[in-house]
Protein backbone atom coordinates (compact mmCIF):
# COMPACT_ATOMS: atom_id res chain seq x y z
CA UNK A 1 0.00 0.00 0.00
CA UNK A 2 1.29 3.47 -0.82
CA UNK A 3 1.98 5.47 2.31
CA UNK A 4 -0.86 7.98 2.37
CA UNK A 5 -1.79 9.95 5.48
CA UNK A 6 -5.31 10.56 6.71
CA UNK A 7 -5.56 13.50 9.06
CA UNK A 8 -8.59 14.83 10.91
CA UNK A 9 -8.42 18.34 12.33
CA UNK A 10 -11.50 20.47 13.05
CA UNK A 11 -11.90 23.23 10.45
CA UNK A 12 -12.56 25.85 13.08
CA UNK A 13 -12.42 26.36 16.85
CA UNK A 14 -12.70 29.07 19.48
CA UNK A 15 -9.51 30.47 21.01
CA UNK A 16 -8.48 28.38 24.01
CA UNK A 17 -10.38 25.30 22.82
CA UNK A 18 -8.86 21.87 23.24
CA UNK A 19 -9.29 20.06 19.95
CA UNK A 20 -8.84 16.39 19.12
CA UNK A 21 -6.54 15.48 16.24
CA UNK A 22 -6.57 12.07 14.63
CA UNK A 23 -4.02 10.71 12.21
CA UNK A 24 -3.81 7.42 10.35
CA UNK A 25 -1.00 6.48 8.02
CA UNK A 26 -1.01 3.58 5.62
CA UNK A 27 2.30 1.79 6.26
CA UNK A 28 3.24 -1.87 6.65
CA UNK A 29 5.41 -1.23 9.73
CA UNK A 30 7.53 -4.30 9.17
CA UNK A 31 8.87 -5.10 12.64
CA UNK A 32 11.99 -7.00 11.63
CA UNK A 33 10.86 -9.97 13.72
CA UNK A 34 9.16 -11.88 10.93
CA UNK A 35 10.74 -14.49 8.69
CA UNK A 36 9.81 -15.31 5.12
CA UNK A 37 9.07 -18.80 3.77
CA UNK A 38 12.78 -19.53 3.29
CA UNK A 39 13.57 -18.60 6.88
CA UNK A 40 15.23 -15.28 6.10
CA UNK A 41 14.43 -12.36 8.37
CA UNK A 42 12.21 -9.77 6.68
CA UNK A 43 14.11 -6.55 7.31
CA UNK A 44 12.70 -3.97 9.66
CA UNK A 45 11.07 -0.98 7.98
CA UNK A 46 8.93 1.18 10.20
CA UNK A 47 7.98 4.77 10.79
CA UNK A 48 10.27 5.57 13.71
CA UNK A 49 9.19 9.15 14.42
CA UNK A 50 5.96 11.11 14.24
CA UNK A 51 5.91 14.85 14.83
CA UNK A 52 3.09 17.38 14.78
CA UNK A 53 3.90 21.08 14.53
CA UNK A 54 1.61 24.07 14.76
CA UNK A 55 2.81 27.25 13.08
CA UNK A 56 6.33 25.89 13.31
CA UNK A 57 6.29 24.93 17.00
CA UNK A 58 6.29 21.28 18.05
CA UNK A 59 2.97 20.20 19.58
CA UNK A 60 3.28 16.43 19.74
CA UNK A 61 6.06 13.99 18.98
CA UNK A 62 6.51 10.27 19.33
CA UNK A 63 9.52 7.95 18.94
CA UNK A 64 8.10 4.77 17.54
CA UNK A 65 9.41 1.25 18.08
CA UNK A 66 8.58 -2.01 16.24
CA UNK A 67 5.79 -2.82 18.73
CA UNK A 68 3.45 -0.47 16.87
CA UNK A 69 1.33 -2.37 14.37
CA UNK A 70 0.70 -1.61 10.70
CA UNK A 71 -1.20 1.52 9.73
CA UNK A 72 -0.18 3.52 12.83
CA UNK A 73 -2.98 5.56 14.34
CA UNK A 74 -2.25 8.55 16.57
CA UNK A 75 -4.89 10.55 18.38
CA UNK A 76 -4.01 13.48 20.60
CA UNK A 77 -5.36 16.76 21.91
CA UNK A 78 -4.05 20.25 21.27
CA UNK A 79 -4.96 23.64 22.67
CA UNK A 80 -5.39 26.28 19.97
CA UNK A 81 -5.12 30.02 20.62
CA UNK A 82 -4.71 31.31 17.06
CA UNK A 83 -5.42 30.33 13.46
CA UNK A 84 -2.72 28.47 11.63
CA UNK A 85 -1.41 25.33 10.06
CA UNK A 86 -0.85 21.95 11.62
CA UNK A 87 2.00 20.08 9.97
CA UNK A 88 2.33 16.31 10.35
CA UNK A 89 5.64 14.59 9.69
CA UNK A 90 6.29 10.86 9.62
CA UNK A 91 9.88 9.62 9.28
CA UNK A 92 10.64 6.19 7.86
CA UNK A 93 13.66 4.03 8.86
CA UNK A 94 15.07 4.59 5.38
CA UNK A 95 15.14 8.33 5.98
CA UNK A 96 12.19 9.18 3.75
CA UNK A 97 9.68 11.64 5.15
CA UNK A 98 5.91 11.81 4.64
CA UNK A 99 4.27 15.16 5.33
CA UNK A 100 0.84 16.67 5.24
CA UNK A 101 -0.78 19.86 6.48
CA UNK A 102 -4.18 20.99 7.72
CA UNK A 103 -5.41 24.52 8.38
CA UNK A 104 -7.56 25.62 11.28
CA UNK A 105 -9.53 28.85 11.74
CA UNK A 106 -9.47 30.01 15.32
CA UNK A 107 -11.77 32.84 16.33
Amino acid sequence: MAAKPRVKVPKSAAAGDIIKIKTLLSHTMESGQRKDKEGNVIPRKIINKFVCEFNGAMVFSADIDPAVAANPYFEFKAKVNESGTFKFIWTDDDGSVIETEKQIEVS
Partner: protein, 286 residues
Amino acid sequence: MKKLLFTGSLIASVVLAHVSFSVNAEPSSDKLTIDEEFEMISRTESVEGHPLPEVVSGWHYRTPETRAMEADSFQNPGMLGIEQGEEIWNTVEGTEGKSCASCHDDAAVSMKGVGASYPKWDADSGKPINVELQINKCRVENMGADAYEFDKGGQKPLTAYVKHQSFGTPVAVDLTQGDMQQWWDKGKETYYLRTGQLNLSCASCHEQNNGKYIRADHLSQGNVNGFPTYRLKQNKLISLHNRFRGCIRDTRAEYPGAFSDTLMGLEVYTTWRGTGLSVETPAVRQ
Protein backbone atom coordinates in the same frame (compact mmCIF):
# COMPACT_ATOMS: atom_id res chain seq x y z
CA MET B 1 -17.12 -43.62 40.99
CA LYS B 2 -13.83 -42.11 39.91
CA LYS B 3 -13.45 -44.69 37.13
CA LEU B 4 -16.93 -43.86 35.80
CA LEU B 5 -16.20 -40.12 35.71
CA PHE B 6 -12.96 -40.70 33.87
CA THR B 7 -14.71 -42.81 31.24
CA GLY B 8 -17.47 -40.24 30.90
CA SER B 9 -15.05 -37.40 30.30
CA LEU B 10 -13.06 -39.50 27.86
CA ILE B 11 -16.16 -40.11 25.79
CA ALA B 12 -17.08 -36.45 25.99
CA SER B 13 -13.66 -35.37 24.80
CA VAL B 14 -13.82 -37.82 21.90
CA VAL B 15 -17.21 -36.48 20.88
CA LEU B 16 -15.94 -32.91 21.02
CA ALA B 17 -12.71 -33.97 19.30
CA HIS B 18 -10.53 -32.71 22.13
CA VAL B 19 -11.95 -29.22 21.79
CA SER B 20 -13.60 -27.76 24.86
CA PHE B 21 -16.14 -24.98 24.58
CA SER B 22 -16.19 -23.09 27.81
CA VAL B 23 -17.24 -19.81 29.35
CA ASN B 24 -20.43 -18.48 27.82
CA ALA B 25 -20.12 -14.71 27.54
CA GLU B 26 -22.90 -12.64 26.07
CA PRO B 27 -22.04 -10.67 22.93
CA SER B 28 -22.03 -6.91 23.49
CA SER B 29 -25.41 -5.23 23.65
CA ASP B 30 -24.06 -1.94 22.27
CA LYS B 31 -25.51 -0.43 19.14
CA LEU B 32 -23.27 -0.20 16.10
CA THR B 33 -23.35 3.44 15.04
CA ILE B 34 -20.67 4.69 12.68
CA ASP B 35 -19.25 8.14 13.39
CA GLU B 36 -22.02 8.72 15.93
CA GLU B 37 -24.56 9.25 13.16
CA PHE B 38 -24.89 6.25 10.88
CA GLU B 39 -27.00 3.57 12.58
CA MET B 40 -26.33 0.06 11.36
CA ILE B 41 -28.51 -3.01 11.62
CA SER B 42 -26.23 -5.35 13.49
CA ARG B 43 -28.87 -7.44 15.21
CA THR B 44 -32.13 -8.48 13.62
CA GLU B 45 -34.78 -11.15 13.47
CA SER B 46 -33.53 -13.97 11.28
CA VAL B 47 -35.02 -14.78 7.90
CA GLU B 48 -37.63 -17.55 7.65
CA GLY B 49 -36.13 -21.02 7.74
CA HIS B 50 -33.09 -19.85 9.70
CA PRO B 51 -32.13 -22.19 12.57
CA LEU B 52 -31.39 -19.28 14.94
CA PRO B 53 -34.05 -16.82 16.13
CA GLU B 54 -31.81 -13.76 15.82
CA VAL B 55 -28.87 -12.91 13.60
CA VAL B 56 -26.07 -10.99 15.25
CA SER B 57 -23.14 -9.32 13.51
CA GLY B 58 -19.64 -10.45 14.41
CA TRP B 59 -19.03 -6.90 15.62
CA HIS B 60 -20.83 -7.66 18.86
CA TYR B 61 -18.38 -10.40 19.79
CA ARG B 62 -15.27 -8.25 19.68
CA THR B 63 -13.50 -6.34 22.46
CA PRO B 64 -14.57 -2.75 23.18
CA GLU B 65 -11.37 -1.46 21.54
CA THR B 66 -11.99 -3.39 18.33
CA ARG B 67 -15.62 -2.31 18.26
CA ALA B 68 -14.59 1.33 18.70
CA MET B 69 -12.24 1.04 15.74
CA GLU B 70 -15.07 0.07 13.41
CA ALA B 71 -17.40 2.70 14.82
CA ASP B 72 -14.99 5.43 13.77
CA SER B 73 -14.67 5.46 9.99
CA PHE B 74 -11.56 7.59 10.25
CA GLN B 75 -9.81 5.12 12.52
CA ASN B 76 -11.00 2.02 10.64
CA PRO B 77 -7.83 0.77 8.90
CA GLY B 78 -10.02 -1.02 6.36
CA MET B 79 -10.96 2.40 4.99
CA LEU B 80 -7.42 2.74 3.68
CA GLY B 81 -8.28 -0.24 1.48
CA ILE B 82 -11.43 1.54 0.34
CA GLU B 83 -9.35 4.56 -0.69
CA GLN B 84 -7.04 2.27 -2.59
CA GLY B 85 -10.07 0.65 -4.23
CA GLU B 86 -11.34 4.03 -5.34
CA GLU B 87 -8.00 4.77 -6.99
CA ILE B 88 -8.15 1.46 -8.83
CA TRP B 89 -11.75 2.16 -9.89
CA ASN B 90 -10.51 5.28 -11.66
CA THR B 91 -7.38 3.75 -13.17
CA VAL B 92 -7.37 2.79 -16.83
CA GLU B 93 -6.19 -0.75 -17.44
CA GLY B 94 -6.26 -3.24 -20.30
CA THR B 95 -6.33 -3.17 -24.09
CA GLU B 96 -9.60 -1.27 -24.33
CA GLY B 97 -8.22 1.76 -22.50
CA LYS B 98 -11.00 1.79 -19.94
CA SER B 99 -11.27 2.05 -16.21
CA CYS B 100 -14.21 0.83 -14.11
CA ALA B 101 -15.37 4.45 -14.07
CA SER B 102 -15.47 4.60 -17.88
CA CYS B 103 -18.59 2.44 -17.89
CA HIS B 104 -19.80 2.55 -14.30
CA ASP B 105 -19.18 6.21 -13.65
CA ASP B 106 -19.71 7.11 -9.97
CA ALA B 107 -19.55 3.91 -7.93
CA ALA B 108 -21.72 5.41 -5.20
CA VAL B 109 -24.56 5.41 -7.74
CA SER B 110 -23.84 2.47 -10.04
CA MET B 111 -22.66 0.02 -7.38
CA LYS B 112 -25.37 0.84 -4.85
CA GLY B 113 -27.01 -2.38 -3.69
CA VAL B 114 -24.38 -4.64 -5.24
CA GLY B 115 -22.70 -5.50 -1.96
CA ALA B 116 -26.03 -6.42 -0.39
CA SER B 117 -27.37 -8.56 -3.23
CA TYR B 118 -24.36 -10.60 -4.35
CA PRO B 119 -23.73 -13.47 -4.95
CA LYS B 120 -26.02 -13.50 -7.99
CA TRP B 121 -26.79 -16.05 -10.64
CA ASP B 122 -24.50 -15.91 -13.66
CA ALA B 123 -26.15 -17.49 -16.69
CA ASP B 124 -22.90 -17.47 -18.72
CA SER B 125 -21.05 -19.76 -16.34
CA GLY B 126 -24.13 -21.55 -14.97
CA LYS B 127 -22.94 -20.81 -11.44
CA PRO B 128 -23.36 -18.18 -8.75
CA ILE B 129 -21.03 -15.24 -9.19
CA ASN B 130 -19.64 -13.08 -6.38
CA VAL B 131 -18.17 -9.57 -6.52
CA GLU B 132 -14.58 -10.80 -6.97
CA LEU B 133 -15.52 -12.94 -9.96
CA GLN B 134 -17.77 -10.25 -11.41
CA ILE B 135 -14.86 -7.83 -11.32
CA ASN B 136 -12.68 -10.37 -13.12
CA LYS B 137 -15.43 -11.01 -15.69
CA CYS B 138 -15.70 -7.29 -16.38
CA ARG B 139 -11.94 -6.90 -16.62
CA VAL B 140 -11.53 -9.72 -19.11
CA GLU B 141 -14.64 -9.16 -21.25
CA ASN B 142 -14.96 -5.38 -21.20
CA MET B 143 -11.57 -3.92 -20.31
CA GLY B 144 -9.26 -6.37 -22.03
CA ALA B 145 -7.37 -6.63 -18.76
CA ASP B 146 -6.12 -9.73 -16.97
CA ALA B 147 -8.31 -11.31 -14.32
CA TYR B 148 -6.99 -10.83 -10.80
CA GLU B 149 -5.54 -13.94 -9.21
CA PHE B 150 -7.11 -14.87 -5.88
CA ASP B 151 -6.35 -12.19 -3.26
CA LYS B 152 -3.78 -10.62 -5.57
CA GLY B 153 -3.47 -7.27 -7.29
CA GLY B 154 -6.43 -5.01 -6.76
CA GLN B 155 -8.92 -7.77 -6.00
CA LYS B 156 -9.33 -7.11 -2.28
CA PRO B 157 -9.36 -3.30 -2.21
CA LEU B 158 -11.59 -3.11 -5.29
CA THR B 159 -14.05 -5.71 -3.95
CA ALA B 160 -14.12 -3.85 -0.63
CA TYR B 161 -14.71 -0.54 -2.44
CA VAL B 162 -17.61 -1.96 -4.46
CA LYS B 163 -19.23 -3.61 -1.44
CA HIS B 164 -18.70 -0.47 0.62
CA GLN B 165 -21.11 1.38 -1.70
CA SER B 166 -23.84 -0.70 -0.03
CA PHE B 167 -22.69 0.29 3.45
CA GLY B 168 -25.64 0.00 5.81
CA THR B 169 -27.93 -1.74 3.31
CA PRO B 170 -29.44 -4.98 4.66
CA VAL B 171 -28.13 -8.14 3.04
CA ALA B 172 -30.70 -9.79 0.76
CA VAL B 173 -29.76 -12.37 -1.87
CA ASP B 174 -32.24 -13.54 -4.48
CA LEU B 175 -32.48 -17.32 -4.43
CA THR B 176 -35.09 -17.46 -7.18
CA GLN B 177 -32.59 -16.70 -9.96
CA GLY B 178 -31.34 -19.63 -12.04
CA ASP B 179 -30.19 -22.58 -9.94
CA MET B 180 -29.35 -20.49 -6.86
CA GLN B 181 -31.58 -22.67 -4.70
CA GLN B 182 -29.55 -25.79 -5.58
CA TRP B 183 -26.33 -23.98 -4.74
CA TRP B 184 -27.90 -22.87 -1.46
CA ASP B 185 -28.69 -26.53 -0.76
CA LYS B 186 -25.08 -27.47 -1.56
CA GLY B 187 -23.79 -24.70 0.69
CA LYS B 188 -26.04 -25.81 3.50
CA GLU B 189 -24.69 -29.35 3.20
CA THR B 190 -21.13 -28.01 3.39
CA TYR B 191 -22.01 -25.88 6.40
CA TYR B 192 -23.19 -28.87 8.40
CA LEU B 193 -20.59 -31.38 7.20
CA ARG B 194 -18.00 -32.33 9.81
CA THR B 195 -14.54 -32.56 8.30
CA GLY B 196 -10.92 -32.85 9.23
CA GLN B 197 -8.87 -34.17 12.10
CA LEU B 198 -10.91 -32.13 14.55
CA ASN B 199 -14.13 -33.33 12.94
CA LEU B 200 -15.81 -29.97 13.04
CA SER B 201 -18.34 -28.35 10.76
CA CYS B 202 -19.09 -24.63 10.46
CA ALA B 203 -22.16 -25.31 12.58
CA SER B 204 -20.13 -26.89 15.40
CA CYS B 205 -18.75 -23.47 16.30
CA HIS B 206 -20.95 -20.88 14.69
CA GLU B 207 -24.38 -22.37 15.27
CA GLN B 208 -24.08 -24.62 18.30
CA ASN B 209 -21.52 -22.64 20.25
CA ASN B 210 -21.66 -19.01 19.20
CA GLY B 211 -21.24 -16.80 22.24
CA LYS B 212 -18.86 -19.25 23.87
CA TYR B 213 -15.11 -18.97 23.87
CA ILE B 214 -12.89 -21.38 22.02
CA ARG B 215 -9.62 -20.74 23.80
CA ALA B 216 -9.32 -16.95 23.60
CA ASP B 217 -11.60 -16.45 20.62
CA HIS B 218 -15.17 -15.30 21.20
CA LEU B 219 -17.18 -17.32 18.67
CA SER B 220 -19.54 -15.34 16.50
CA GLN B 221 -22.39 -16.61 14.34
CA GLY B 222 -20.02 -16.58 11.39
CA ASN B 223 -21.93 -14.05 9.30
CA VAL B 224 -20.24 -12.61 6.24
CA ASN B 225 -21.78 -9.14 5.97
CA GLY B 226 -18.48 -7.40 6.74
CA PHE B 227 -16.17 -8.96 4.17
CA PRO B 228 -13.57 -8.09 2.97
CA THR B 229 -12.72 -7.50 6.60
CA TYR B 230 -9.76 -5.78 8.22
CA ARG B 231 -8.37 -8.43 10.53
CA LEU B 232 -6.12 -7.00 13.23
CA LYS B 233 -4.11 -10.19 13.60
CA GLN B 234 -3.11 -9.97 9.94
CA ASN B 235 -3.01 -6.17 9.68
CA LYS B 236 -4.81 -6.19 6.34
CA LEU B 237 -8.01 -6.74 4.44
CA ILE B 238 -9.02 -10.37 4.34
CA SER B 239 -11.36 -11.79 1.70
CA LEU B 240 -14.25 -14.14 2.41
CA HIS B 241 -12.78 -17.13 0.60
CA ASN B 242 -9.51 -16.66 2.39
CA ARG B 243 -11.43 -16.82 5.66
CA PHE B 244 -13.38 -19.90 4.59
CA ARG B 245 -10.13 -21.64 3.73
CA GLY B 246 -8.46 -20.49 6.96
CA CYS B 247 -11.32 -21.71 9.12
CA ILE B 248 -11.43 -25.10 7.40
CA ARG B 249 -7.64 -25.38 7.61
CA ASP B 250 -7.92 -24.71 11.34
CA THR B 251 -10.15 -27.76 11.74
CA ARG B 252 -7.23 -29.63 10.21
CA ALA B 253 -9.15 -30.51 7.08
CA GLU B 254 -8.08 -30.15 3.48
CA TYR B 255 -9.39 -26.82 2.41
CA PRO B 256 -11.23 -26.24 -0.90
CA GLY B 257 -9.81 -23.90 -3.52
CA ALA B 258 -10.91 -20.28 -3.57
CA PHE B 259 -13.98 -19.80 -5.80
CA SER B 260 -14.39 -23.59 -6.06
CA ASP B 261 -17.92 -24.93 -6.35
CA THR B 262 -17.85 -25.92 -2.67
CA LEU B 263 -16.93 -22.45 -1.50
CA MET B 264 -19.29 -20.70 -3.92
CA GLY B 265 -22.16 -22.77 -2.50
CA LEU B 266 -20.97 -21.94 0.99
CA GLU B 267 -20.84 -18.23 0.14
CA VAL B 268 -24.45 -18.33 -1.11
CA TYR B 269 -25.59 -20.12 2.04
CA THR B 270 -23.66 -18.06 4.61
CA THR B 271 -24.66 -14.81 2.92
CA TRP B 272 -28.29 -15.93 3.21
CA ARG B 273 -27.80 -16.70 6.92
CA GLY B 274 -26.92 -13.04 7.45
CA THR B 275 -30.04 -11.73 5.69
CA GLY B 276 -31.13 -8.45 7.25
CA LEU B 277 -27.77 -7.42 8.67
CA SER B 278 -26.25 -4.22 7.30
CA VAL B 279 -23.30 -4.51 4.94
CA GLU B 280 -20.40 -3.46 7.16
CA THR B 281 -17.59 -3.68 4.64
CA PRO B 282 -14.89 -3.00 5.71
CA ALA B 283 -15.59 -4.54 9.11
CA VAL B 284 -12.87 -4.60 11.78
CA ARG B 285 -12.32 -7.93 13.43
CA GLN B 286 -9.72 -9.59 15.66
